[in-house]
């Protein structure tokens, strides 16, 4: 009797436990479903579809016509225009990342001591964060424009010859770099300012007592302490730089002579002007792989090299 009762009891407990579990799972699904469904439809599905397109010849309507495996990738590697675009992108990304990180750090160091008015200057330095791609491009377009542009007026005052920023292909890429770096500075400056404030003051005090030089302090105390943020800023800048589009569209349209034809501009042209979806998809996957590579490399480097507090 006793035994039978306990067993029945056990079954009831087990049943309610199962019910409970089921209920929990349903609740979890309900909470996650909106995000999961939308990520599925607008991120995972299109990603798979892009990979799929990259293995096809497509017609002008963007429909796949003939499966060609990885041929699109082989063709791209031999495509001089694409390889030039890729090289331009690499130079661009390298310069933007280097210039943004170094100048943002310099700005953060300049405002690192709490003097009267520091907050105001910090607001000034961070202000480019509120400037969008198209506004920044229009502002710089006016500076770069020939004759009545600000750049030429200043050069004229200094008795220097004018620079044809947007029409001379030795300067055009630098003009786009300048615009992008200027835009990036606000965010990077703010991030590095935060990092500098978190460096423990006692470390500096000890260094001061020991009579360590400023350079030594920077190299042995500041830099290791802020290196996680420095890496973070560098990676974010790099990934964004790979995806630069609007500045090219507004300033140069990829010209002159393709000198500013960055990869995303090429993708845009192939997809929506030349209507070559197969090629554009292949280029997009190349871009995705490059960005994945940067992210993974950064992750590994951070784990290995960067000192955490």
């Amino acid at each position: 009797m006793d035994h039978a009762f306990s067993s029945a009891n056990h079954a009831v407990v087990k049943h309610t436990q199962l019910q409970q579990k089921l209920k929990t799972h349903l609740a979890a699904m309900g909470f996650i479903a909106p995000s999961a469904i939308f990520l599925g439809v607008f991120v995972f599905y299109p990603l798979v579809k892009t990979v799929y397109y990259s293995m096809f010849l497509t017609n002008a309507l963007g429909q796949p016509v003939k499966f060609i495996g990885l041929s699109n990738y082989g063709t791209l590697l031999q495509d001089k225009f694409f390889m030039k675009s890729l090289l331009t992108t690499f130079i661009f990304v390298f310069m933007v990342t280097l210039l943004t990180t170094v100048s943002a750090l310099a700005l953060a160091m300049v405002t690192s001591k709490h003097l009267k008015g520091t907050t105001l200057f910090r607001t000034f330095f961070a202000s480019t964060m509120g400037v969008s791609v198209s506004v920044a491009s229009v502002l710089w377009l006016f500076i770069f424009q020939p004759t009545t542009g600000v750049s030429d007026m200043v050069l004229n005052l200094l008795h220097l010859p004018p620079i044809h920023w947007l029409t001379d292909n030795t300067w055009s890429l630098f003009a786009v770099i300048l615009t992008v770096v200027w835009m990036n500075l606000g965010f990077s400056f703010l991030a590095l300012t935060g990092a500098l404030e978190n460096v423990a003051t006692p470390l500096y005090e000890v260094a001061d007592i020991e009579g360590v030089t400023t350079w030594h302090k920077f190299y042995h105390i500041t830099l290791p302490q802020i290196s996680p943020t420095l890496f973070f800023v560098g990676t974010v800048t790099m990934i964004n730089a790979f995806q630069t589009f609007g500045q090219v569209d507004l300033l140069t349209k990829g010209g002159p002579n393709n000198s500013t034809n960055l990869i995303v501009y090429q993708i845009y042209k192939d997809a929506f002007v030349n209507l070559n979806v197969g090629k554009a998809s292949t280029e997009s996957i190349v871009l995705a792989l490059l960005i994945a590579l940067v992210t993974i490399a950064q992750f590994k480097l951070t784990e290995k090299r960067v000192m955490y507090q």
């Binding site: 909470f31 996650i32 001591k113 506004v135 377009l141």
Partner: protein
């Protein structure tokens, strides 16, 4: 730490000098927007004949106000969508135990690594198939789910003791009540950060609205400015600059309002 007066002087010199260099594009933009057109055309920038004609012209003769309204609505819709979707998903990841949680979480986080360009063409086709190109829906719907937002909020929600949820569950408090009364009040800063972040990101979008909106009653401010720059004669710089300044105002306001939240919320979540 002692700051010598020498150091003070060079710091101020640098701060003032660098501010001027950095702010030149903005100062020039505002300045030119206030000049009469003939002064700009002839390059006579140093005049005291300031005027607000360019702003009046921009508001009355171009669809700039409509562009701004479009951007405002689209950014607000995405902001609400992202916050709601992210709150729900982050809550489940932190407070509800379920099978496959880790795999699903990594799948979410993995999407942060993917550039939007690798989804551009199929997304365009999906919206064309749905028949909602050139519509607010096309500008907003693809961005409702945000891996970044989910991650940011998950980090914050994890600071709420799990025991609190367990004892609440014993007392029969449901998930929504717990979320509303315990989690959300705790995570206000992060929610505010995410809201400002998604508003600004949407406000600044360029490539997607460029290919999905093509009439004035849908076009966002960013693409509207491109449109004005392309169609208004190259010589109405005053008008273009006035429009640019008008477009900048809302994002500056949002930024100033959220500055503190940004500094603590975003950086804490991202760096550590």
């Amino acid at each position: 730490m002692i700051i010598t007066s020498n150091e003070k002087i060079w710091r101020y010199v640098l701060m003032i000098g660098l501010s001027l260099v950095l702010l030149i594009p903005l100062i020039v933009g505002v300045w030119v927007s206030l000049l009469p057109n003939n002064a700009i055309l002839t390059g006579h920038y140093f005049t005291s004949q300031f005027t607000i004609d360019n702003y009046i012209q921009a508001i009355t003769a171009t669809p700039i106000l409509r562009y701004l309204l479009n951007s405002l609505l689209v950014s607000a819709i995405v902001m609400v969508g992202q916050v709601v979707f992210s709150v729900l998903a982050a809550y489940a990841f932190v407070f509800i135990p379920f099978k496959g949680k880790q795999i699903i979480f990594y799948a979410f986080i993995g999407t942060m690594m993917l550039p939007f360009e690798s989804q551009l063409i199929p997304n365009f086709q999906t919206l064309r198939w749905l028949g909602i190109l050139n519509n607010y829906a096309a500008l907003a719907i693809p961005f409702f789910a945000s891996a970044f937002g989910t991650f940011l909020l998950r980090q914050t929600f994890m600071q709420v003791p799990l025991a609190l949820r367990e004892s609440a569950a014993i007392e029969g408090v449901g998930h929504f009540r717990f979320l509303y009364h315990a989690v959300i009040p705790y995570a206000k800063t992060s929610l505010f950060t995410l809201a400002a972040y998604s508003f600004l990101t949407t406000w600044n979008m360029y490539l997607w609205p460029l290919i999905t909106s093509y009439s004035d009653n849908v076009r966002t401010a960013q693409i509207g400015l491109r449109q004005l720059q392309a169609t208004e004669a190259v010589n109405s710089w005053g008008l273009i600059m006035a429009s640019a300044i008008l477009i900048m105002v809302p994002s500056l306001v949002v930024l100033l309002l959220s500055q503190r939240a940004f500094k603590s919320g975003l950086l804490d979540g991202a760096v550590k």
